[in-house]
Amino acid sequence: MANVHQFEVVVVGAGGAGLMAGLYASRGAKTAVISKLYPTRSHTGAAQGGISAALGNYEEDKPEWHTYDTVKGSDYLGDQDAIEFMTNEAIDAVLELEHMGLPFDRTPEGKISQRPFGGHTNNETGKPVRRAAHAADRTGHMILQTLYQQCLKNKVNFFDEYQVLDFLITEGGKTAGVVAVELATGELHTFHAKAVIIATGGHGRIFEVTSNAYAYTGDGAAVLLRHGLPLEDMEFFQFHPTGIYKLGILITEGVRGEGGVLINGNGERFMPKYAPSVKDLASRDVVSRAIYTEIRAGHGVNGKNYVYLDVRPEAVNQYAATDGRTNPDGSPYTITGEQVLAKLPDIIDFCRVYLGVDPLTQLMPIQPTAHYTMGGIPTNKYGEVVIDSKNTPFPGLYAAGECACVSVHGANRLGTNSLLDLVVFGKHAGLKAAEYAKQAEYHNLPVDAEAGARSQFEALRNGSGKENAFTISTEMKKVMFEEVGIYRTGTIMESALDKILELKERFRHIHVTDTGKIFNTELLNAWELGNMLDVAELVTVCALNRTESRGGHSREDYPERDDHNWLKHTLAWKENGKVRIDYKPVVITKYQPKARVY
């Protein structure tokens, strides 16, 4: 073993959660951050609209309201102790980002500016509240850049463009490290560690139309699954209402926060029918279903599967007047084209580049797009990975960010809580891992640490070649989007599962043609496809298993939420080629489940 490194803490992934974990872990322990991308390429950078905290910079707001909104948004599947923990930390977390230099937009008094977002409300009046702290429509970009910059300032060790392939466990079931391939050379590297933090992001690339980066292939979740660890609530995936038609590129909810409205093919504003109180600012699952319901009723544009988002200033002003929307000082809300451009510059740019549409004068064609992984690696609120229904921690293993399931998002995540999640839980995972590492020993590495990684690669190189990986990938994305998407039914998902299993079998017959070592991206893409197929299988099995509708999981054959049978988290293991399912209770502190109306 030529390339062995030793670090007390190893962080896998360098998006917001990984960087935050790296920053905090490195203050207390010798730490390395390993990432398959250059850190600034991570998908946190694509987040647009904002990060939520009850700063109250324009109007009254409280962490308790943020808690309740998040619980309600989660359709009561979020763990309320963890949600309360997150919303109580939110204000300090956002202020800490500002203290790190993050260039938030400002109020006239020079404070951090905030905007309305879906499901963010004043709990007393039920009216939208300005809770999303923002930097134009590139808040995630600013967070990613700022955290990377702070890591440079604090001399965090980075291994850029190293793909982690395997997790190393002792015979006694303790963390020993990870194995990664250095993309530039093809060499395997063993990272001997006391603690490992997984921060590898979500798996939205299993779906055809998605806002997610190519890198979002569920690597961390799949690696742990192969080692016999469970994943939680994998049936819950968020479809964001407004993706650019066909491409899936995200159009932030901030567009509706600034007054944009959804219009069907008949030119009608339809959200008041579905969410009479907050209308276009209802929770994402509610809005995505409303769009699909309109499309199915034949109200798509030109009979096709898309509708319009309208942020033309004169239209916004007209709807704002109808809704009686006001500024914080009580004056009527109005917006100009210049203000739209200043607040949403990237959205305007995306529409002009990809659609040839100018949102200041034209309507944007949109459709729901696969956006966010609510499920994932089960953790407690300190980022410790837990492995059963009793929440037993796995020694030395942590997870944070989109790959983790704390669960603060439950069955449906509120907009802007993802950026908050990765800052808060990235920090705590880093702190906990460093604390653990200080009192733990290095456990012996397996005799041949690289064996697992090597054999995975060999399998991909030795296939017969009668199947094409790109074709398998395309078929998987299509079946997942169409049959395990926004609306789900048992019989259709059974056929989807057969298809995924067929694709998994065919995957054994792909053959990586690139025999080189330097930047063998064909080999890596094939390995990622294996992860996606494993994750897609689990998503489908868990979605079939949950015979109710809750948040992002909508069963047409079981249209009601069923708290009596299903107010519980799913845990799923892969054992002897089969998926095994168990459950754990939802933590309920203050808020008993009730009907969810927006």
Partner: protein, 235 residues
Amino acid sequence: MQVTLKIFRYNPEADKKFHYVTYTLEAEETDRILDLLEYVKGYHDGTLSFRRSCAHGVCGSDAMRINGRNMLACKVLVRDVGTTITVEPLLGLKVAKDLIVDMEPFFDNYKKVLPYFINDSPLPADGRERLQSPEQRARFDDTTKCILCAACTTSCPSYWASDDYLGPAALVAAHRFIYDSRDEAAAERMHIISETNGLARCHTIFNCTMACPRDIQITKAIGELKMTSLTGKLD
């Protein structure tokens, strides 16, 4: 429609020198150049190597030369460049394989300008944010947009001539902090970029501004830094 895609190929493990391979594909005018590269990799030649991630112009992975100009392959469509398309790696950085260049020298230059917020004064006593007016915030807005794709630096003839020049992207990073009213290390950064490998190497060619996929007015930003270096004034 049919497009002809001519791609620069170089595999250091097999080739003595680079060559071009031409592929003929069916495409739509709204396809991204990145979509075409994915298709070639998926169905014509799996060994074709390039970087990509977000696929909509915000991560900065896939900067390359398309018909001779630096662009992001995910942010340019067939209808923007026509049906005869040549794709080559960025100039001025060593080619590692096909369209992938060695980014290390680029990031090394970035790191030289102290590209991080520095303010060692005590935080506001109430623990809240440091105040900054919308006007102060607007002063450096343009340069906060940088995604470090290297399209600017590798379009700069001064950088081609000498890769010890910091290059436009590093100067953009310096600008982002120097004009931030909350930051306290402007003088230190001005000192670094006023060395011979810094501002003086910019000859106002505007290639960087033309290349920037985020529409940052890079030449203007460098001009402001030059003015500050002459006058010592930040406004």
